[in-house]
Structure formats: C-alpha cells, structure tokens
C-alpha cells in the first residue's frame, strides 16, 4: 500500500479541483473543509463548496446564510498564509439562476412558476448532484481561485454524483412527457408503433392515476424548457469533461466498514473506467491502538485477575477498554487490507476518529494534520 500524501498535492499549483466523494455520512464535508483550511494555511487561494454542512460546522466557517456565493472566511485569530472562501450550495437557487440565464425573461417566469418545475427542482433525486456540478462549473469559469474543493451531496452511493445528472437529463429531455401528453401527435413515430395500443392504454391508465392536470403541467413545462435544453445538456457535459482533466483529483472518503468500503471500491473502479483521476482513499474515523505493545488476550486475562480480587477496578476497566479497542482496530485493519488487496494501486491515509465531533476550525485543523499524515 502506498501512503496518500496530501501536502504535495495541496501545494502543487497544478492541482485546481479536488472532489470529495463517498457514501453517506462517512466524512465528505469534514474532509473537504479540512483540506481547504489546510491548503489556505499553506498559501493557496481556496474556495470550498460545501453541501448541507452540519449547522455548527457552517457557523464556524462564517456561513450563516445560504446565499449561494462564496464568502471569505473571516474568523478572529485565523490568518492563513493564503485565503479561504467557503459557500453552501443552494440547489434551488442554482437551478433558478440557470433557467434565468438560459431562457428569456418571459419564458423563465413561465418555467419557474410551473408546478412540475417545482417538483423537479426541489425533490428529484438527481437535482442536487446536477446543481453541485453546475456550481463547480461556475466557480471554475469565474477563475478567481487557484484551488476549488468540492463536497458532494449526501447519498447512499458515491456513484450518484456521476450518474444523477444523467438521470435528470433523461427526465428533462421530455420524450415521455411529450408522448403522454400528446400521444396522437407522436403516434406516427417508430417507438410508438412498437408499443402500439398498449401505450395509449398506459397513457390513459397513467392519467387516471396521476390526474390530467399534472400531465398538462409537465407538458407545458417541457415545451417551455425545450429551447434551453440543449444548452443545459452541453453545460453538464462540459463539467463532466472538466472532471476528467489533469488538474482535477478525486478524494474518496470511506469509513473502515464493509458497506462504505464496498461503495468506495465501486467508485474507484468507475473512476478508472471513466479515466478520471483518483488521488486516493481517506479511511476516516479509524480507531488505532495507542498502547500497541499490550496484546488484547493478555489485557483481558489480567483484567479477569483483577476482577476476581476486586482490588483495582480502574485498572481492570482500563485493560478491558483496551481489549475492546484492539478488537475494533484489528477489524478495521483487516477491512482496509482487503480493500488494498483488491486495489493495490490506490494510495490511502487513515484519519482517526476524534473523540468529539468536528465543528470548529481547530477540529478541522486537527483533521487536516491527520490527513497529511502528521
């Protein structure tokens, strides 16, 4: 196994974009913020795009409102060599802005007030990922920072970040909405011939279920959206290309647990299929043994002795909690070794679980030190 060494990566001016990915709750946001802080303290002009950060973490970065623009992090006693900017993604606003940019004023109003647009922009499962990519594209285009660090949305699967934008495109390109809302007009096309009468039955069934109004809204939406769809897809495509370029690196975050490591495996394989550059794996929240010379079995035997005599309850407790810790650490090492065997080329760094949650700059700095292997 090679060790993932972050400092050279952060110091390298060729590193322009870092994307922190991983399955839900593993520490993507924390890692993104900690890397950004460290890079700024080492002299880079950094912006970190966070997504749904915990409230206290957001506050410690001075992010009180969700205004969808980067703000410089100004905190007393924080004087980095470089500069640190931070922002929280407002997905709805990003979507609205996109519509405003691409559609004319009138048409934009029509789209924004459409109930179907409101569903898609607030609750469709791929929207947050799409908007994160869109925002990344905007930050790159602004060209104000020499390093952009991106957090990714909470999602079960790390792959969603790469796949969800495509899902949204499929819905928006409106093939089905068109057919559902105007089957008569579309019926000359090949696709419908194949499905034949089944489709019109289906349309009827669906409209009795979802209601005619909803289909009507969807259809109005698609017509209004149609003209800007090309631009929309092109942008997504460009950002996707950006993820493949040499200045970009993916940081995969995982917990030392089977599910998270399985997800990390899928993601690592996918990156390699797509030709996207991987920096390495962060194994977050590990529990390394701090008293390495004392084997668990020996500790337990001694604890049993002490319990029998009832003499030294504190020492017995210390021995037992040490044995627990050895068991946890052994399992984590085993799981990580299995990952490394499957992906020998992937460099890795372990970040121990800090005893308390990470929600201030000191905590982030501490994580940063661990990321750098200090």
């Amino acid at each position: 196994m090679t060790k993932l060494d972050f400092d050279p990566l952060l110091d390298d001016l060729e590193t322009r974009v870092l994307v922190c990915c991983g399955s839900g709750g593993v520490g993507k946001t924390t890692t993104a913020a900690a890397l950004a802080l460290r890079a700024a303290e080492r002299g880079r002009r950094v912006v970190v795009l966070t997504i749904d950060p915990a409230r206290r973490l957001a506050q410690s970065l001075g992010l009180r409102e969700l205004d969808n623009h980067p703000r410089e992090v100004v905190v007393e006693g924080f004087e980095p060599k470089g500069e640190l900017f931070a922002m929280m993604l407002d997905m709805r606003r990003t979507f609205d802005d996109m519509v405003l940019t691409h559609a004319g004023r009138d048409r934009a109003d029509q789209i924004l007030s459409n109930p179907f647009y409101q569903t898609i922009s607030s609750s469709f499962s791929g929207t947050q990922e799409y908007m994160a990519m869109e925002k990344l594209g905007q930050l790159v285009a602004q060209d104000e920072w020499d390093l952009i660090i991106v957090d990714t949305p909470p999602s079960r699967s790390a792959l969603d970040f790469l796949d969800a934008p495509q899902r949204l495109s499929t819905v928006l390109d409106g093939r089905f909405i068109r057919m559902l809302s105007a089957p008569a007009r579309a019926s000359g096309r090949g696709l419908l011939k194949i499905v034949g009468t089944g489709f019109s039955l289906f349309t009827r069934a669906v409209s009795t279920i979802v209601g005619g109004q909803l289909l009507q809204d969807a259809s109005t939406f698609v017509q209004a959206f149609d003209s800007m769809f090309g631009g929309f897809r092109e942008r997504a495509q460009r950002t996707y290309e950006l993820l493949r370029s040499p200045g970009t690196g993916f940081v995969v975050v995982a917990a030392a647990e089977p599910d998270a490591l399985r997800e990390a495996s899928y993601f690592v394989e996918r990156l390699s299929d797509e030709g996207m550059p991987l920096c390495g794996l962060v194994a977050n929240r590990t529990h390394p043994v701090l008293a390495g010379d004392l084997p668990a079995a020996k500790a337990l035997a001694a604890a049993d002795d002490l319990d029998r005599s009832g003499e030294a309850p504190l020492a017995a407790a210390v021995l037992r909690l040490h044995a627990d810790r050895v068991a946890v650490a052994d399992r984590e090492k085993r799981l990580l070794a299995r990952f490394t065997r499957a992906h020998p080329g992937v460099s890795l760094v372990g970040v121990p679980a800090l005893p308390a949650d990470v929600h201030d700059l000191d905590g982030l700095r501490e994580i940063g030190r661990r990321l750098a292997g200090e």
């Binding site: 839900g24 709750g25 915990a54 569903t119 469709f124 909470p154 079960r156 499929t170 089905f176 909405i177 559902l180 194949i194 499905v195 034949g196 009468t197 089944g198 489709f199 039955l201 289906f202 069934a205 669906v206 409209s207 009795t208 279920i209 979802v210 209601g211 005619g212 909803l214 289909l215 969807a218 647990e257 599910d259 043994v289 701090l290 008293a291 390495g292 010379d293 004392l294 001694a302 002795d305 002490l306 005599s309 003499e311 030294a312 309850p313 504190l314 020492a315 017995a316 407790a317 210390v318 021995l319 037992r320 909690l321 040490h322 627990d324 068991a327 399992r331 005893p355 308390a356 949650d357």
Partner: protein, 330 residues
C-alpha cells in the same frame, strides 16, 4: 424510561426508520426475528429496491414474491418481500386495465420510472398500498396470514412523506381506483395497528434527526413507536471515573499499581497509550450519555442494542433478536 410497551405489542405493522446508515435494515431484520420468536409468522418488507434483506441474510436477490427466509426460535418463521415500485404499478394497472405484453415493453423503455418521477407521490402510494395488502391479508381460516409485518422504511428525512398518503393523494387523481385503495392505507397507518420505530445512534446528528422525526410524525398524526438505540458501546469505566477521565485526568499511579498487581509490568510509553485510550473512551461514554439524555426528551419507549465488534452476519441477527426479546419485544 420504559422499554417495549403493551401498546407496541398490539401493533401489527412495525415501520422502522432512522437516519441513513444507523442500522434500519439490520434492526428491522432483528425485530422480525424477535417478533417471530415463540412460533409467530412475520413478514419483513423492503421498499427501496436495494436488496438489503437478501444481502443481510446472505442469499440470492429476492424476487417480487414472498419467501420464507429464516426460522425463529420456538417454531417462528420470517418471510421476506422486496417490493418494487415498477412491479407494483404494473400489478396495480393489471387489476384495472389489460395491458397485455405492453407492460414489459413499457418497463424496458423506462416509461414506468417516468410515471413515478412525474408524480413522486405515486411511488409511495403504490408501495404503502402493497404493504397494507400484506398486513390485512387473511388465510383460509379467516385469520391474518402474518401475525406482524416489519417494514424497512425510507430514512427519517423522507419517511413522513412516504407514510403521509393523504398528502400524496392530493397530487394525484381525485377519483378512480387508486383513491379507493389509498383510503384503506390511510386508515391502517394512522391506527393503533401501526407503530413507527426510529433507529438512532448515540451521536449528536442522529439524535437530533430522531427528535425532529418524532415531532414530524406527531405533526402528521402518525404514531411514533420505540426508539431503538443502536450500536451502544459498553461503558467500561466505573461511573464516577467517567467525568474526570473525560477531562483528561486519569490517575496514572493508580492504574500502574493495579497493573502491577495483575502482574503486568509495562513501559512508560504503553502506559501513556493506555491512559490516552481511557480518556478517549471516557469522552465517548460521556457523549453517549449526553445523547441518551437528549433522546429521553422524546418520551418514547427506548431499547438499547449493543455494538457488535465483528460486524453483522446472520448469526449476529439472532443475537440482536435475543437482545430485543430480552427488552420485552413480542
């Protein structure tokens, strides 16, 4: 704090939610085994198309059909069903319309996924509709086929929306077959037959999410069941030592004397390591206690489930089921 109540014993549909990754699927499976203990027949259902049950029980993916997947102590049986929204929609349509072969083609084209995207509520209505059918189904003797149904539900962020069928229906057609069916679902979900359990971890965020979910359930007139506190780490230190140790004060000389008494002669470095481990342990125990204290504001029955260091396999599920039975689950 009470554990399993009489009221919970009367529930027939146990919905299990919680923040993502807290152990919903694991706890739902253990709960199904616990409820089946002593000879009952329980159905375990999943609805998110992830084949989590099959993975947990270490078997091939479940088809869209009920299958017996485990035996419980005392002659009980656990059956499982993975409900697939697309299949449920087709099944549903087939009840009212003759789609013939078109159904399969439509599915391949993604038309069905599209319909459920168009009306996100539709998916939930279909899934809960199928759950209701399973809960209410009776055998030839007129008795319920399943004594209890356990649902591995969507996470807390989405569960109220998922269960609030009345709201979802507001977006759908006001008349027609689906309306009639959904009225029955609403009755079931808001009755004493249903309890919505929440799986929590003793960490700040999951606890807050749990409390928010309780409030949200109350607001939607759904009944919160028990809080299942998962992955509780054993507290090793004597209670009075915890607060002091959490502040970094561990009486090194006493530890050393104890170790020497047990015949362990450790170097300074190892001893320091032990002290550091002890401080971290104490901080963790303390934050678990704080989280527990915060959780108690929910005023719900609470059951603690221990952390299993070696992870969860089928044997471990039986172990967790025993813990639940010991806490009064039946």
């Amino acid at each position: 704090m009470t554990s399993w109540t009489e009221e919970l014993t009367r529930a027939r549909l146990h919905v299990v939610s919680g923040k993502g990754g807290t152990g919903k699927t694991t706890i739902a499976a253990a709960l199904a085994l616990a409820l089946a203990t002593g000879g009952r027949r329980v159905l375990l259902i999943e609805v998110e198309g992830r084949q989590g049950i099959a993975q947990l029980f270490d078997r091939a993916p479940l088809p869209y059909a009920e299958e017996r997947i485990a035996a419980a102590p005392g002659g009980g049986e656990v059956h499982a069903l993975a409900i697939d929204a697309e299949a449920a929609l087709l099944e549903y349509l087939a009840m009212f319309y003759n789609l013939g072969f078109a159904g399969r083609t439509l599915r391949k084209m993604g038309a069905i996924e599209f319909a459920t995207t168009l009306a996100p509520g539709l998916r939930d209505v279909l899934l809960t509709g199928k759950v209701k059918e399973c809960v209410n189904r009776t055998g030839s003797d007129g008795r319920h086929l399943y004594d209890a149904v356990v649902l591995d539900a969507p996470p807390t962020g989405r569960v109220v929306k998922f269960l609030d069928v009345t709201k979802a229906m507001a977006d759908l057609a006001k008349v027609g077959p689906i309306k009639g069916q959904s009225d029955g679902v609403v009755r079931l979900l808001h009755s004493g037959d249903t309890a919505v359990h929440l799986v929590a971890l003793l960490e700040e965020m999951p606890v807050r999410e749990t409390l928010d979910a309780v409030a949200e359930l109350d607001g939607a007139d759904l009944r919160p069941g028990a809080v299942l506190v998962n992955r509780v780490h054993p507290a090793r230190l004597p209670a009075h030592s915890v607060p002091v140790a959490a502040e970094g004060r561990v009486e090194e000389s006493r530890v050393r004397a104890g170790l020497t008494a047990a015949g362990l002669d450790l170097d300074e470095f190892t001893l320091e390591g032990l002290v550091d481990e002890t401080v971290e342990h104490a901080i963790r125990v303390q934050s678990q206690q704080e989280a527990m204290e915060l959780l108690s504001h929910s005023d719900l029955p609470t059951v603690e489930v221990p952390e299993l260091t070696d992870g969860v396999d089928v044997a471990a599920l039986y172990e967790l089921a025993e813990v639940l039975v010991a806490a009064g689950v039946r």
